[in-house]
Symmetry: C2
Subunit: 205 residues, 2 copies
């Protein structure tokens, strides 16, 4: 069972069609684009939080997540660059566990192509969600509520320093369907020419 | 802000009342008792999967999870005993990130009190859910569907070897309410006499 190369239409990747079906089947639920991202934090302990799926990077299987560059997960990912997404679709009872390397793209990234991706992600999100990056540093104590002022943002202004794009490049996808009780394990094989092929195996749930 | 001791009614623990309110407010949703458990797996990489909340251990804040002793997570937890739960309530937009030490209680546990807990968890789950522990080893390839036979189980029979109880002892609870945009961090302080106190701090979302 072979998937598309990096430059091919990524929907030909076998697990992508399952994921697209799940996204379509749960599209009426706001939380269908939320998943849990696990990383390895301080002292080698696991960390886990809900984040929002911001689509695939064009012409690839890479998963995009917007985050605050000041949040703990940035330091964690710089220390251990692997993550595992657990994405449970509550209406169709399907779970996707997607693991892979995470690329952290903040404003200091030296690659113009990546900075463009970050800018596209910034303008692709609502002005309301951009506003959160102007707020106080996440995770720090709030000594006095009165100190928090309303932030204002020019909708045409580019990404602020705190805006960071995470890109997870899947190398293993563990699919479980609790209605049919089927489980499939997809494993990526990266060829010498940079293209990917995917192997699928039916495993016990 | 002080919580109950280990032997006190655990609902007096400050985050427990928030969690109970979330459980009540989302009780109409089957998936409200599902959460994602992150552990650290092979090669120090994160692992993440959906599991079912099986209640608190009596007179404590310890969270119970049933699992298959043959699943990968058992080896992972024996290697790194920390876990982080990410529990997102889809109707009330509340997230609880609960981290702590995980105790693995399988049939070989030397402590009679823990074996009793495991037995109680076994009989506390439905016969249908007990049946899955009689199936083939989770995560292994299925070479031939025909080889899978219907399993039968005497409802009065005690736990099978594959049945394992996990008990997570919370030491930090990070609560986020996306409707009110409030975030609270609860941190446990274990005193010399074994009782717990909890400190709560309002932090930036």
């Amino acid at each position: 069972m072979a998937g598309g190369g990096a430059a091919a239409s990524a929907l030909s990747t076998p697990w992508r069609s399952l994921l697209q079906r799940a996204l379509d089947g749960n599209a009426h639920l706001k939380h269908s684009t939320f998943f849990q991202l696990a990383t390895v934090g301080g002292g080698g302990r696991p960390a886990n939080r809900t984040v929002v799926f911001r689509g695939f990077q064009e012409q690839s299987d890479k998963i995009q997540i917007n985050t605050d560059a000041r949040s703990n997960k940035i330091g964690e990912i710089r220390n251990c660059s692997f993550g595992e997404i657990c994405w449970y679709f509550t209406d169709t009872w399907e779970q996707f566990r997607i693991s892979g390397f995470i690329d952290v793209i903040d404003g200091s990234n030296p690659e113009p192509v990546k900075l463009q991706l970050r800018e596209r992600a910034w303008f692709g999100s609502s002005v309301k969600s951009r506003l959160q990056y102007l707020g106080p540093c996440p995770g720090l104590p709030i000594p006095d509520d009165d100190l928090i002022k309303d932030a204002h943002l020019d909708p045409s202004a580019g990404p602020v320093d705190a805006f960071c794009l995470l890109v997870l490049d899947p190398e293993k996808v563990d699919y479980l369907n609790l209605k049919s009780n089927q489980r499939l394990m997809f494993t990526r094989n990266q060829k010498g020419d940079g293209t990917n092929s995917w192997m699928a195996e039916k495993i016990s749930p």
